[in-house]
Amino acid sequence: MVAKTLYDKLFDSHVVHEENGTALIYIDRHLVHEVTSPQAFEGLRLANRKVWRVNSILAVPDHNVPTTNRSTGVAGIADPISRLQVQTLDENCAEHGVTEFKMNDLRQGIVHVIGPEQGATLPGMTVVCGDSHTSTHGAFGALAHGIGTSEVEHVMATQCLVQKKSKTLQVLVDGQLGNGVTAKDIALAIIGKIGTAGGNGCAIEFAGSAIRALSMEGRMTLCNMAIEAGARAGIVAVDDTTINYVKGRPFSPKTEQWDAAVAYWKTLHSDEGAKFDTVVTLNAEDIQPQVTWGTSPEMVVGVDGKVPSLDLAKNEVQRSDWERAYAYMGLTPNTPIDEINIDKVFIGSCTNSRIEDLRAAAAVAKGKYIAPNVKLALVVPGSGLVKAQAELEGLDKIFTDAGFEWREPGCSMCLAMNADRLEPGERCASTSNRNFEGRQGHGGRTHLVSPEMAAAAAVAGHFVDVRTF
């Protein structure tokens, strides 16, 4: 028998039909949020089509919801256009009978946090969502694709996605991560190495002892960032860590289904000797806490590094990219990273807002206070359940005592569609995934870091090496 990659196994087991190398693959789980779904529901309505399998869909408003007081419900969303979008999701879900965790449901949160939390993301599944960071769900040994709105409509109507098989890239990270070095740093180090187009159109499988040692939260952070390397999907093989995480969640297999499910899930790894189109290796010991300095996740260096100078650019295109980035970020080449002062801190987003992230940030902030130059330090839990758990552990108190604000769950300042945002020129240490121009607010300057590094920067007022903090 031919040795298969995990990607091949997942893809092949979902092919409904194949013609000229283009396949229809069956979709097991469809996650839906308010921003990329209204036009899809509208399309169904106009064509008089029905949803193929309603119970494959789980919907949640996350991008637009306020993270402050929600006691007045959807009607209380100040921005009328945001409000309409959230209302439209509620109406569409009600009309089609789709399960939705509404804004004030305890289970509401960022779509990529709640899927796994509910057991709605399971090993072996195909998962789609009208959102690029759907790659997150690959952490479970699932094939997860971010799709556009036309495809959202297509999956709703047919339960299938038109796909060609991707090339495969194996990223092998062996060795042991140093103290204070996290999955986020692995992700940024990989992107620093291969570039934001380095995984273009590929399915990346993350493997190696350092990946095996990661918790599910860490694996989700890593797969979440796979899209920032241009990948079509990020995957990690199933092991006991995966199975233990999944057990007992609301959508997980029922008791009588459990053994059969586990037996199948245990086959979800690349076979010995399986061939990948490309292999990239990193040594875990070499990875430092990372800080992005520019306007693309590949513009990244270790915390003890400097803003690179132009002579290090690999070609003309990169030179002009870097020049534009210096200007936008208000930085000069050769500035040491730990001399960069910040104005705001954001701990949250589908990359780093799970309980483990909050614990790690709280451990750094405990007993300290944010620096006087830090105008705002936000902690936005990934879901209502994460928030409740954190409060049970007293993390909210640690944060608020240290001068951080403790908010309601949602995407928040990851993309600043709600009221949380940077003002022009403001500089932010952020645990999110994108540092594009204007991402966190018009003219805002984003530096991507891990939760530990963000908390340390909040206290110091500038970036610091959390390992010696």
């Binding site: 921003v35 036009q39 509208e42 256009i81 690029s132 556009g148 495809e151 038109v162 187009a197």
Partner: protein, 212 residues
């Protein structure tokens, strides 16, 4: 979906690599629940000097004279020429909607981000990959000649310059067929309804927990 066959179009050069979908259409405009009307806000942060919000009268906003699409010679462009990894970042289909609404039918680059590339085809737009060298030479030619047009022929898979140089490009045969004929993906997939039903039944028997 609208069919795409052939186009003789004015070319606008956007000389940047890694143009992300946040830049193509900033998030504040994603709050719309419609598909149309994004054109006036395409590249909003670069095109205007002020900060744009939905509901503004865009005709009254101060234009950034340095931004290429604001220059007189590129008015009416339908071909966007740009650099590598165009359309990276968010999956928002609002990006091709905005480009299309503005008037672009073709985007030429040395590479594209995957989801954006895919989204173009769903909206009657043609993304074309040409080598970095060819893209570079096109940039130089556009720069030199006011009114520079390219002729794009999807059936023949060629891009022809005013001086007659012809470059061929690759396109997936299924996508080409659908685009040439303006076929709706959902309709095509529905032709395989029986197969989907059969697959679903089998899938449910082997992995019942997926259907809980």
């Amino acid at each position: 979906m609208q069919a795409f066959k052939q186009l003789n179009g004015l070319v606008a050069p956007l000389d940047r690599a890694n143009v992300d979908t946040d830049a193509i259409i900033p998030k504040q405009f994603l709050k719309s629940i419609k598909r149309a009307g994004f054109g006036p806000n395409v590249f909003d942060e670069w095109r205007y000097l002020d900060h744009g919000e939905p509901g503004m009268d865009n005709s009254k906003r101060p234009l950034n004279p340095d931004f290429v699409l604001n220059q007189a010679r590129y008015q009416g462009a339908s071909v966007l020429l740009t650099r590598e990894n165009f359309g990276c970042g968010s999956s928002r289909e609002h990006a091709p909607w905005a480009l299309e609404d503005f008037g672009f039918k073709v985007v030429i680059a040395s590479s594209f981000a995957d989801i954006f590339f895919n989204n173009c085809f769903k909206n009657g737009m043609l993304p074309i990959v040409l080598s970095a060298e060819i893209v570079e030479s096109l940039f130089q030619e556009v720069e030199k000649e006011i009114g520079y047009q390219l002729c794009v022929n999807l059936a023949a898979q060629t891009v022809t310059t005013p001086s007659g140089s012809k470059y061929s490009f690759e396109v997936d045969s299924v996508r080409k067929h659908n685009l040439l004929n303006g076929l709706d993906d959902i309709g095509l997939t529905m032709q395989h309804q029986d197969k989907i039903n059969a697959f679903e039944l089998k899938h449910q028997q082997t992995q019942p927990w997926l259907f809980n």
